[in-house]
Amino acid sequence: MPPTPPADPPTEQPTHQAVTSRPRTFLLAKDDTVLVPASLGELDFPFLVEQLAADPEVQVKGRITPRTLRAQSLGTSITDEIVVATMSEAAAGELTRHPQVILEEDSLVFPVPAVSPVVNADPGLVSPFGVSTSWTIALTGAGQQPVTDAAVYLYGSGVPAQGRTDATGTVTLSLTGESDETLRALYINPLSDYWSLWVDRPQLVSGTTNTLALRSLTDAFPGFPSTELIGWGQRAMRLDLVPANFTGRGVKVAVVDSGAAALTHPDLGGIHDGADFTTTPAGADLWRDDTIAHGSHCSGIIAGARNGTGIRGFAPEAIMHEARIFPGGRISSLIDAVDYCIDEGIDVVNMSLGTGGSSQILLQKLAQAKELGVACVVAAGNTGGGVQFPGTSPDVLTVAAMGQDGEFPEDSYHAQQRWKTGQTDQGYFSAQFSCYGDEVDVCGPGVAIVSSVPTRGFASWDGTSMATPHVTGLCALVLGHHPDFQSGPFAAKGASRVDRLFELIRGAATPLRFGDVRRSGAGLPDAVRTLGLEGTSSPGAGQQARELAVTTALAQLHQMMVSAGLLAEVMTLDPLAVDQLDRHLTAVTIERDIAELRARMANAGLVGAPVAPTV
């Protein structure tokens, strides 16, 4: 459902209304040094100013003209008259269309030391000048109830002030040397059940209580959580088109994270196994205590119960294991967790984590895990730079993050996550925070992902951490239901099984054109194609992979028939013949049929013993 538009801007002191952005103040001047198309005509600047003064969306605050004759003689048309006016974004946008109009923001200036417009994380560099000003913010939600424990960040020129709302939904934040006019942004991140809120240049008033109403998740998803939600990411990966009996039953999935609220959350009640590595020795039951909520969120995406309420996971009947290493997770605890996964015979491991460091020991452990058939799916990282470790390991499947337009309110923080340098593809965009690089295998849904959080709530989060469990969940479905893993060479646990799994995920992905393939890898994984449920033409890599498989399989059959004397002469297989094939045949079914035919021919003595497949 598309997000509801923001409420009208408040005309007086904001009380129980949405906080909107303050209009900006601009400097306006005429530049007659540029060429103007004849159709447009010369700009009549005094007339324009007259019109602006009459426009209710514009407030002309003053004019700056040269004060001396010398200044007038040295000036240009630009400096002859500068108008200072506060106006809406729409009015400003309209003005900039005329080539002779110069419009610049009348930016605030500060006493030295100069303050960078970006948030400076070093408090030592923040200006100590000025008095402290406080803003009180009260949050209300559904039915005017206070929203408690929401994180609130107020950005001035330096380090933001932050706090959490109390039992009355209120928090007071103080900044030094700032005023109502210098506030740059307000960010509210509720603990659960509401959308986040981001306001540029918030129209807050110090010394009073500014009451804001947050949007409930239910506003966007009617009936949720009483009725089950299939997330946009799951729909984008076409989980909704997968048969209901594909549940990942029996596949062992581990989530190396912060544990899961298995005792309290209805969508996580099916999780019965886990271990805690945050203490020495490892605790038995602490994995059920998810103080960060991150592991609960990831676990819901993978295996949220199919119970008609809340959220729906990819593989609700997978055997879930929680390997708790957060808070305080380090490489050593991750190694311990991988050891646990090996010992427990885990099939797929979700690692929504990373570090800027590296470790040969962990690399060796991940290689060992793969050799033993443990498939590790790892987040690319959220620092917006190169892929983080262990996403750089050659033995894992690395996942970047993307979002989709229309799946979140535009005043939520999710709207800030668009990678603005690139382009959108089918409404999808690369997430600005997503790490990227040649190591990225696929790109998963990772903006505005609604999933379970302790104790019984739901929250909409961003991150490659959220993209990764989408892929892990699909891996569980593939291992549980793809014919390749039910019998034959890939049924037994080992490196070739992991390779085959990753190859299927990549090969059936829908390519994404964000302007940099390092941000999307093979693209968005597709559940229907990966599971071999669709034989119709598909875009890009998936289609190519299938056509290659079909061609190779036909070549094998051709060779066998020639060997058996069933074909009189060797012919070159016409690649166009591929197009004549029944499109409902998938590579997998063809491979299986060829194997069966080969076995029958061998039994009939027409060819030698079956050979290992080459596809």
């Binding site: 994270d257 912060s258 020495t280 960060i292 991150h294 290493i325 957060f326 305080g328 997770g329 380090r330 490489i331 050593s332 605890s333 991750l334 190694i335 311990d336 050891d339 929504s352 984590l353 990373g354 570090t355 800027g356 460091g357 470790s359 040969q360 020991i361 990282g381 959220n382 983080q388 991150g463 951490s465």
Partner: protein, 76 residues
Amino acid sequence: MPKPFEQFIIAGDTSVIKPMLDILNADPESAVLSVSRNTQTDPERLVVSMDPSRAAALQAALGALVLIEPDDPLNL
């Protein structure tokens, strides 16, 4: 003010790690935080808190026999 200790992972063959564990346990300037053991209960991996220069000296002394790496924190 005491030097800040950092956390390191030490891994290698149990024939090396076993005596190393004894040495580090006896070392007042190191603290063994955890020991991972193989199925034969022999130590194969240690997490040790020590001064970085001491870790570098150990790595230089033992060469390829062990791997000593910073036990970096992970981010979610």
